[in-house]
């Protein structure tokens, strides 16, 4: 169990934009890969890097971003998958002890993040964002200081959503908690303005957070939820990419607004909306070569 169940082999820079002191540094760490599976991890890490750097706005920030791969072997393959969450009951011996069913939630996949940050800190002291890539086909993931994802079809998309939270302080833009059909008590957001840059309670065109991006011809609010007891079922009344104030975000049906009808912070497998992209670009601009 733990560090006796594997070995830290070393670090490889797989995307080189310059010295780590001057760039934004992402580190991808392997979990649940046996020593004979490290070539597969190299492939998986490259696929992750390619997907991330193809996603706007990262596609135009490539010159700012280094990506490192940290090879850590595990004695056995995969992640723990407890039966109490209807998993397989597998208990592989892995270096970071990653497990599904964290807090009793089936798809909540977490490793020992303290151990991950120690390993990453030794090998890439200038790290800004760490990912734990878990060698399991079961869908799962988690956010926090280490964004954790599995090899399921949604894995990389989950990781990029979590990157939005951890590295850029972006809020969730979905307007429900457990689900639109099951929510109770999520009718109205408090009037307190959220600190996150991509949600607001302020529907004043002249002062709202992303006012500079709202065209004069776009109605504000752009959508209003007619029944705050439920999620708003209406389709977008404006063209895709229109920036405005769409009611429903931050786990509440009403009283809080998001900038576009859809966004990666609302649904995975979508691009970041323009406001989220703007935040990311502002945060990463200092890392671009002069």
């Amino acid at each position: 169990m733990g560090t006796s169940d594997g070995q830290v082999l070393g670090v490889t820079k797989i995307v080189d934009a310059g010295p780590p002191e001057k760039r934004w540094n992402i580190v991808i760490v392997s979990e649940g890969y046996r020593s004979d599976e490290m070539a597969q991890f190299a492939t998986d890490a490259k696929q992750f890097a390619d997907t991330l750097l193809a996603a706007p706005p990262f596609d135009r920030l490539r010159a700012a971003i280094n990506i490192f791969r940290v090879d850590v072997t595990s004695t056995e393959s995969g992640a723990k998958d407890p039966k109490k969450c209807n998993g397989t009951g597998a208990k592989p011996r892995t270096y970071f002890d990653a497990s599904f069913c964290a807090n009793g939630i089936r798809r909540l996949l977490i490793g020992n993040n303290g151990r991950v940050t120690k390993v990453v800190g030794k090998l890439v002291p200038q790290w800004h964002m760490a990912f734990l890539a878990v060698n399991s086909p079961v869908s799962g993931g988690s956010g926090g200081p280490v964004a954790t994802f599995s090899k399921s079809t949604a894995g990389v998309e989950i990781a990029i959503h979590e990157l939005g939270h951890t590295a850029f302080g972006l809020a969730d833009e979905y307007e429900y908690y457990g689900g639109c059909s099951s929510d109770k008590g999520h009718d109205k957001h408090s009037k307190t303005e959220p600190s996150q840059p991509n949600i607001t309670t302020n529907k004043d065109r002249a002062t709202t957070k992303w006012r500079d991006l709202i065209q004069a011809t776009t109605p504000v609010p752009t959508t209003s939820n007619a029944n705050c007891k439920n999620c708003d079922p209406q389709p977008s009344p404006v063209a895709v990419g229109t920036i405005g104030l769409f009611e429903g975000a931050d786990y509440f049906h009403c009283g809080v607004y998001r900038p576009e009808f859809d966004c990666r912070m609302r649904n995975i497998n979508r691009p970041f909306c323009a406001v989220c992209q703007q935040v990311i670009v502002k945060k990463l601009t200092p890392f671009l070569p002069v």
């Binding site: 200038q126 993931g141 949604a154 457990g178 303005e193 600190s195």
Partner: protein, 181 residues
């Protein structure tokens, strides 16, 4: 290494307990965009990596580590007195905010649950008694004296009771520590 009480701020706490509110500002100031990068960016390529552990609502500093690296620019340093959420600030000796980084609350007591398919819905589930670590990077320019963490208190009644994700009150300072010199 632990968070230390500021001699100037006698009410500072090592752990996440009720302390003084974040500075209040006018409504006009508070409504300015927090996403906009201020001019108060790190003026040197030196950073301090602060690693915290948390266990429920209890937060402790684990380590401070100096690193030569660039940081993202500060979120705007003005306003936020009436904002909700979670953020870290570097404060000067006169308690002026020099750097602010808005964070997705790393001490949440619920979890995001992802769908099997990329086209499915994300949702959340309560996950009480969570514990773990989180990291805050702040500029290490010599001008900052203290680092503070601010967080909204949770509701005590109703469906949002106890859940940080659903907290609707303005954030308050929950921890203050001295930056290593």
């Amino acid at each position: 290494m632990v968070a230390r009480k500021s001699s100037r701020k006698s009410k500072a706490r090592k752990t996440a307990k009720k302390t003084k509110p974040a500075k209040k500002t006018s409504k006009t100031q508070a409504r300015k965009t927090p996403a906009k990068a201020s001019k108060t960016s790190p003026d040197a390529n030196k950073a301090m990596r602060l690693t915290f552990s948390y266990d429920g609502d209890d937060i402790k500093l684990v380590s401070q580590q100096r690193t030569d690296m660039i940081l993202p620019p500060s979120d705007t340093v003005k306003g936020y007195g009436s904002y909700k959420g979670f953020w870290a600030e570097v404060r000067s000796g006169s308690d002026k905010t020099l750097y602010r980084t808005v964070m997705h609350n790393p001490t949440k007591n619920d979890a995001e649950v992802f769908p099997e398919s990329p086209d499915g819905e994300i949702s959340r589930e309560p996950a009480p008694k969570r514990k773990g670590v989180f990291v805050v990077l702040v500029p290490d320019t010599g001008k900052g004296d203290d680092v503070i963490l601010c967080r909204s208190a949770t509701e005590t009644k109703g469906p949002a009771s106890g859940l940080h994700s659903l907290a609707g009150k303005p954030a308050k300072e929950i921890l203050r520590l001295k930056l290593k010199k």
